[in-house]
Symmetry: C2
Subunit: 421 residues, 2 copies
């Protein structure tokens, strides 16, 4: 069967940005071909439905609460992955402590509820980690598969840690759901929709035996487009290299100052407001003991100023959780995503170099002319794939940063309005 993963979107719209926010005109058509031995068991393939209408698709933004401003003009973004018509999303929720081996071993189990079935499945952190390993192995050469939130040895059962981990697991899952190739893969579908332990165990074993991994992924793609000019391949590579490096630097800079700011706003700054408040209240108490008449207006003012400063301290300390948190989490996610590109780009670079050496290798009799032609075709396909992945990255980036900047600025405005002075 055909599993369309890369595709021309005929209306030139990507699924993750508001429809009036970005209009693109596609020049290339990619499709994704099944090959023998790859995900050969599709008997219970829920995703089969995508096959039929992959090239009709106008993808309405599935991102929640997206708001877009109109942007004039039609642009070309080039190759894009085929986006499913019904976007997938999921919730990670309801962490529960479980135990095995007669209570000797404890763990936290989360409910994962995909929008496709609305049926919760249970997973432990180690299952997410297993999924991550499978996705990385299978798609890592072509697609940015960001790491999971860190493992932690101590304090794993503290509520704050569990909440934070759950939030990040949800962020990771939702990002994977948003990826049109990942979300339609068998292993991801298995993780989200397995019916029982038997299906889960069988599916796991099959996924672990999958041989269509690593650079094999490119064999499964057919851009159905003219072979790309080598100059263009080079240019695209350079452009994406520069961009991802520059954005990585920018994101790390923002994370750096954001984390410093977080610490100041939750630590020393509110402590100072608290101490100013205490100092006012203390002076008020001292003044009340003066034995001098007629200073209740002053002592009342000092007490209420002191109380207000203690409230300000609380508001200041809580504020970062209301706005800076999301700015930092989004940038942490992007730091993770951007960390994937050097690897992807290195695979690409190696292929470019190999093709450049192609003539010499043919002359030296190390490869045949046919092999050289196949190498060039493969590189062209890789470049289309890289462009589709970058376009996916860009449309997500624009949506995510628009949303988080709006959240952050709204939070900041509220903060300055809410301070009870």
């Amino acid at each position: 069967m055909l599993i369309p993963l890369l595709s021309q979107n005929s209306r030139g719209q990507t699924g993750l940005v508001p429809v009036d926010y970005l209009q693109v005109c596609l020049s290339t058509c990619l499709s994704y071909l099944s090959v023998p031995g790859f995900e050969d068991d599709d008997g219970d393939d829920d995703d089969g439905e995508w096959d039929d209408d992959w090239d009709e698709g106008s993808m309405e933004g599935h991102a929640p609460g997206a708001t877009g401003d109109g942007e004039g003009g039609m642009g070309e973004v080039g190759p894009v992955w085929l986006y499913p018509q019904s976007p997938l999303d999921c919730e990670v929720t309801d962490p529960k402590k479980g135990s095995k081996m007669y209570g000797l071993k404890s763990y936290i189990e989360y409910q994962v509820i995909p929008t496709s079935t609305q049926r919760p499945v249970n997973h432990r952190y180690k299952h997410f980690d297993w999924l991550y390993e499978r996705l990385l192995e299978k798609f890592g050469s072509a697609i940015a598969i960001p790491g999971l939130p860190d493992k932690q040895v101590t304090g794993r059962f503290e509520e704050q840690f569990i909440r934070g981990r759950m939030e990040r697991l949800q962020g990771w899952m939702r990002r994977m759901c948003r990826h049109p190739v990942v979300c339609q893969s068998h292993v991801f579908t298995l993780f989200l929709t397995y019916q029982d332990q038997k299906e889960w165990k069988l599916g796991k074993r099959r996924a672990e035996r999958d041989v269509a991994v690593g650079q094999m992924i490119f064999s499964l793609m057919d851009p159905e487009a003219p072979e790309m000019d080598s100059v263009e391949v080079d240019q695209k590579y350079e452009q994406y290299s520069r961009f991802t490096k520059a954005m990585d630097d920018g994101v790390k800079e923002l994370l750096g100052v954001g984390q410093t700011h977080w610490k100041r706003c939750t630590g020393p700054l509110p402590k100072e407001y608290q101490r100013i408040g205490e100092a006012f209240i203390n002076l008020s108490t001292v003044f009340s003991s003066s034995g001098y008449q007629g200073e209740s207006t002053l002592t009342d003012a000092l007490t209420s100023a002191g109380t207000i400063y203690q409230e300000v301290a609380e508001i200041v300390a809580e504020q970062p959780k209301r706005d800076l948190h999301f700015l930092l989490e989004t940038n942490r996610e992007y730091k993770g995503l951007l960390g994937c590109f050097p690897e992807t780009l290195a695979v690409h670079k190696a292929a470019i170099e190999k093709v450049k050496d192609g003539d010499k290798m043919v002359a030296a009799g190390r490869i045949s002319t046919q092999e050289k032609t196949t190498m060039k075709q493969r590189l062209s396909c890789m470049s289309y794939s890289l462009q589709a992945e970058m376009n996916h990255f860009h449309s997500n980036r624009i949506y995510d940063y628009n949303r988080v900047m709006q959240l952050y600025l709204e939070g900041q405005v509220k903060f300055y309005e809410e301070v009870p002075l």
Copy 2:
């Protein structure tokens, strides 16, 4: 001649608090008697006018911009100094660099303009210091004479230092002007109103020869009131001891956290906002280089958010100069004033102990019964004086803290309103 310095104010109002803010009912009358050898040259005494009407006085608040809330009820504050009907004030302004010894020695000269004459006189820091020494020597046992702003060896000619010193000299001078005993003294009048160098030099020499200094000041006071009960003397002493110590602690606490807050608000905090702004602008630049269409809304938003954060940085860094500065300066002044009380109270305590030993000393033939009676009278007078000084302190304190808290809170409200978010 009689120079009234301590007095019953018949309307029960002190000069430094708004008239409807505080009403006091006085129980005691003190007056200030001239004695042979003390300030004997009163030929050009501008302050002589106070003599006649010292006990008529309804003192309207001479403090600038005072606003008060009504406080119900009449209270008793006890002895008060006699306040002049026209309050004195002065401006310290227009610092100019002068030089002596053919330019070998440079100094800064300030114009001091008293409200009484409106005629500027010039003074260097060392003249203020000379005046401080005279006032301390003469009145230090009875009146809080706070120190001048610190001497500084390096950077004396830097504009910021000169401005700061001038502001504090003005604060010191205005506080001295507000003290009814100090402001009517010959040496203070000389400093503010000397006509020429000859008068200044003669006046200086006379002041330096003044013998009515130290505890002699109490010989010049006549409370014209019944001798105070020794239990009451003890109680007052204890009350003032406790209060000034507690307020000193409170003021130091506020100064401590205020200075920390000042450093944070002028240093690391705006630097962080600046860096957040830069990070936004930088991300905007990176995003603009994506080659992806339709993200100008995002990049514009990032750039303007970045610009706003750089403005916020400036506002945050400037804000302490607009509000916290005055809170800190007022508390610094009070720290200086409060630092005078341990000395004054020690003089008082010693007198209390001496009177307590009176009977034994009479029995041992070391003093006569007459001397013991005089000692008791003197102690009573000292206690009246201490009460008058404390009442002066309290009325100033209430006025100053009302004003500075209002300024500070208004400044803070403006800050939260002005942030351009």
